[in-house]
Symmetry: C2
Subunit: 194 residues, 2 copies
DNA sequence: TTTTATTTGGAATGATCGTTCCAAAATATA
DNA sequence: TATATTTTGGAACGATCATTCCAAATAAAA
């Protein structure tokens, strides 16, 4: 009887995500979102409540997608150290492939919204903590396996790795230079050596 | 004969800078700027042309001020390595003192405006290159003086240092934890050892 | 094909945006 | 103190913002 939904919600979220990444939350208008998603205003409001709701859904979707993509990719190896290396390899490829310099939606959101929107700020902060903790588990396992130095605590090393990730995300958005990114990753990872 | 300007332009720029840092360019309204500066709309438009002009002037003033503050501080020592260490010490103090998490106006501007405003993006990019180059000169001198390892090129090390700076700026805005910042700086600087 | 529930497009709305404008206030000189 | 010149406050402007609303279009079921 009823007419069924004419669009794929996930596809819409990914279109919206791209615009939010490029222009930021405050730099994106509903008109931008209408054009990018191909949906009508009514459909957007009906499905996502409002602009803020769409932003939150896009952020959550981005987080899930990134996590599962990374998990899938890291099945390639059991070595904790190689998981770290692979993560930075993939990051470099993502940055260099990102011709529009959209960057990471979560990092962008954290930077734009910390002082403005507690709900978004908390979400971004939580996601960042999760990412850092992933590094922590790998470093800890790597140290146990003798792949990673014990000169520094697992906590300190994982904080360093995640800090380098954040720096690269900033460089990727502002001044993405292949040589620079390679240098940074090489030096960042050298700290893990005995 | 004429009535003279009733306000200090530099003081106004610093008030504006604080608001732009917290809320971003698109998140800041002219009303916010009127309240923060204490000036009237007319005076703002008469002095800075428009919102965008005020933003650019605030960015340029921030850049000059930061550079001269750093230069002044680093007179304390002649050792290139100690200049680097001091720079990170000061950065940590700035981040921890920054209760509003305003962060660095230049980094914030680069992140918010890359895809939106070429003029601002170029200014931020130029300022970032300058900062990285400052590290480069110190690393090069430090290597020549035997204070810094030659395992990596001066270019690679300076890129690494600046990348760590950018990461810390992001963390300072989103999740500023004293312990984390100390860890990151310690590991970042350890790379300079022989 | 007709019916029915739902989506859809686009006009309309009120709020807020950046900007302009001008009469009134203010100050350094005469 | 009076005059001349500039700043100032605040109202007013058009543009754009997010959001609402409804008639028309649409697709599944009868």
């Amino acid at each position: 009887m009823p007419k069924v939904k004419q669009f794929d919600e996930v596809a819409v979220l990914e279109k919206a995500q791209a615009v939010f990444s490029e222009k930021g939350y405050n730099g994106t208008s509903m008109d931008d979102l209408v054009k990018a998603t191909g949906l009508s205003r009514s459909s957007i409001y009906d499905t996502f409540t409002d602009k803020h709701g769409l932003y939150l859904k896009a952020l959550n979707h981005y987080r899930c997608e990134q996590n599962s993509n990374l998990e899938e990719l890291l099945k390639k190896t059991d070595s904790p150290r190689k998981k770290i290396t692979l993560t930075f390899d993939v990051l470099m490829k993502m940055i260099l492939a990102d011709k529009k310099r959209a960057g990471c939606l979560m990092v962008n959101a954290g930077m734009e919204m910390t002082c403005i929107d507690k709900e978004v700020a908390d979400l971004a902060s939580d996601s960042m903590e999760e990412s850092e903790h992933r590094f922590y588990e790998w470093v800890k396992a790597g140290q146990a396996a003798g792949e990673i130095t014990k000169r520094f605590s697992a906590k300190a090393l994982s904080r360093h790795l995640y800090n380098s990730y954040l720096g690269l995300r900033t460089i990727g958005r502002t001044r993405p230079d292949p040589g620079a990114i390679k240098d940074i990753i090489r030096v960042t990872l050298a700290v893990l050596d005995q």
